[in-house]
């Protein structure tokens, strides 16, 4: 086993009955990495996570973890932890008993068990809540119990399903820090599933963007945010102006603009609204919508290329609704896309 493929999925095909949710997935995850599976609902990210956990049978392909093929290993023997989106705490057990649940099944008893549970609770700051029932805790506290319950088992991989989505903004930041700290202290390999790009960018070492059961792009948060490779990823991370290139040329009302020197092999180009400049430039459009956003002003332009979204400094002179305005799509700022779908 090489460290680069501590957890590896090989030609993994997952299906619900006859409908294939994930076809032929290949993915390698390093030991100690913090990975985000990012994508819209229905992209197969949760399905993939459930297959890694062993909750969903694999149709074909392999899951290897720490050198062993675990494709057919039942979920209760995998040493994979999962923090559920709903936390899934046992309502009839106290916080202490929840954390002790898995350890007791391992046969741990007495002082050893107590020490382990106490340290688990301490690590998430809930020592004083040991005797409470889950229903008496806030959402954030419940999640930390769920985290402690999984972590005391010392899983080889910890999976988290939408770990921040049920929390309010303040707790979200707190939990994000908490997850990073736990990961750093224990070195556990973490994979979390999310549909929120901000969450993935903030937390992950590497992001795996998925669409329709397939991996669209794998990269660092910077890669994904700045250098999306496909129109889907570009759209997902906020490039709202995305255009196909036809033989290196961008089609406009004034004819084709040759961009082959800037983006020789690109299938398309994408600009964030922030990258569009207004007032000067070779293109023209009509202001169809405008809104003030504090530091900036957002415009929706009707152009021969289709609608264009622009966001410019609020200090610049405003353009009225209906007025004609010239604009530029600076080719050097654009993200070149290798796939346009």
């Amino acid at each position: 086993m090489s460290d680069a493929s501590y957890l590896s999925l090989r030609k993994l095909t997952l299906a619900y009955g006859d409908s294939v949710a994930v076809p032929d997935l290949d993915l390698d995850i390093r030991r100690g990495e913090l990975i985000a599976l990012l994508g819209p609902s229905g992209c197969g990210k949760t399905t993939t996570m459930r297959a890694i956990a062993g909750l969903l049978p694999v149709k074909s392909g392999h899951v290897r973890l720490d050198g062993a093929d675990i494709t057919r290993v039942p979920a209760n023997k995998r040493a994979v932890g999962l923090v559920f989106q709903s936390y899934a705490l046992f309502p009839h057990l106290s916080v202490y008993e929840n954390v002790a649940f898995g350890l007791k099944l391992k046969g741990m008893r007495g002082a050893e068990l107590d020490a382990k549970v106490q340290s688990g609770l301490k690590s998430v700051g809930l020592s004083s809540f040991a005797n409470r029932k889950p229903a008496e805790l806030s959402g954030g506290q419940q999640q930390r119990v769920a985290l402690a319950r999984s972590m005391v088992m010392e899983p080889k991989v910890l999976l988290l399903d939408e770990p921040l989505s049920n929390l309010d903004a303040r707790l979200r930041l707190e939990m994000r820090t908490e997850l990073q700290r736990v990961q750093k202290e224990t070195g556990v390999t973490m994979i979390f599933v999310t549909h929120d790009q901000a969450e993935a960018l903030a937390l992950a070492d590497r992001i795996v963007v998925m669409k329709s059961g397939k991996i669209e792009q794998i990269g660092s948060p910077e890669d994904i945010y700045n250098r999306p490779l496909s129109s889907f990823v570009a759209d997902f991370v906020g490039f709202e102006n995305i255009f196909p290139l036809v033989e290196g040329k961008l089609k406009t009302s004034g004819g084709l603009v040759d961009l082959s020197s800037q983006a020789p092999s690109a299938a398309g180009l994408a600009w964030r609204p922030r990258m569009v400049t207004l007032g000067t430039g070779p293109f023209r459009g009509t202001v169809r919508g405008t809104s003030f956003a504090g530091d900036s002003r957002e415009y929706l332009l009707d152009t021969s290329m289709g609608p264009i979204k622009a966001e410019v400094e609020a200090s610049l002179p405003a353009h009225a609704m209906g007025s004609d305005v010239s604009f530029n799509l600076p080719a050097e700022k654009a993200a070149p896309l290798s796939r346009f779908a």
Binding site: A75, P91, H92, F101, S150
Partner: protein, 260 residues
């Protein structure tokens, strides 16, 4: 006072009169000192309450009813809990049909259930009286067991079972470790409801009772056909207070009404 403002109190009065009235009459009659079942009671005595405990057939049929209520309900739960679990957790083909069949004994009149059991099961297969009654009471209680247990299963998230499995438990272990403890209230409620249903059951038991083997309500009817003294009223009162007591305790300690 307008007619409108009298209407609601009138309805309330009628409801209370017809629901509670007969019960009060029976209770009053059971303390009568007279020789026949009559209202208003003649004098006051505890002689009929005392007599209830001396009638040999009442003792035997009470034992039978208790056995059927406890045993039949327990059997219905042993069948009903797994059935409810399967119906609530898996998308099974024909689940609706199973639900309907299981609920049938509630909908079909007891007379018909009794006749059908007698004609098509008890007689052709030569089933003894006690096993036949046991079978019938199990079937009659099953719908309540499935309904009440299903309700508490539906309120329980299924991901706690997956959580238990990922912490090292087997699927079956997860059922006993995290499902059963969380539906305990529902199971106890189903038990009490089933017990009361079975204990008060008349029509089916009427068909299936036989020489020397009767349930208490059937025995009471038989007794009244021969002897018209207030001891039946006394027994009815005792049973009613027993039922009220059980339901009161259940509500007090289990929040019974949440499940029914």
């Amino acid at each position: 006072m307008t007619i409108r403002s009298l209407f609601i109190p009138l309805i309330l009065f009628l409801v209370i009169t017809f629901l509670i009235g007969p019960f009060l009459i029976i209770v009053a009659a059971s303390f009568s000192a007279g020789e026949t079942l009559a209202f208003p009671p003649q004098g006051f005595s505890l002689r009929w309450i005392g007599k209830v405990f001396t009638v040999e057939s009442f003792r035997a049929s009470f034992g039978m009813s208790l056995f059927l209520a406890v045993g039949g309900t327990a059997a219905a739960l042993v069948l009903g809990i797994p059935a409810s679990y399967a119906l609530s957790r898996y998308k099974l083909p024909g689940a609706e049909i199973v639900r309907t069949i299981v609920s049938a004994p509630i909908i079909v009149p007891g007379i018909i259930v009794g006749l059908a059991l007698l004609r098509y099961i008890v007689v052709p297969f030569q089933v003894g009286i006690t096993p036949a009654l046991f079978l019938a009471h199990t079937a009659l209680v099953l719908p309540y067991a499935v309904r009440v247990v299903s309700a508490s299963l539906d309120n329980l998230r299924s991901d706690i079972e997956e959580a238990a499995v990922l912490l090292g438990s087997s699927r079956l272990g997860a059922f006993f470790r995290v499902v059963m403890p969380n539906i305990r209230g529902g199971i106890l409620s189903a038990f009490i409801l089933g017990f009361v249903t079975s204990f008060n059951q008349v029509p089916v038991s009427l068909f299936l009772s036989g020489p020397g083997v009767r349930t208490l309500p059937v025995d009471m009817i038989a007794y009244m056909e021969i002897v018209f003294d207030p001891s039946v009223a006394a027994l009815s009162s005792l049973l009613a207070f027993l039922s009220i007591g059980i339901v009161f305790l259940a509500e007090r300690f289990l929040g019974f009404s949440r499940y029914v």
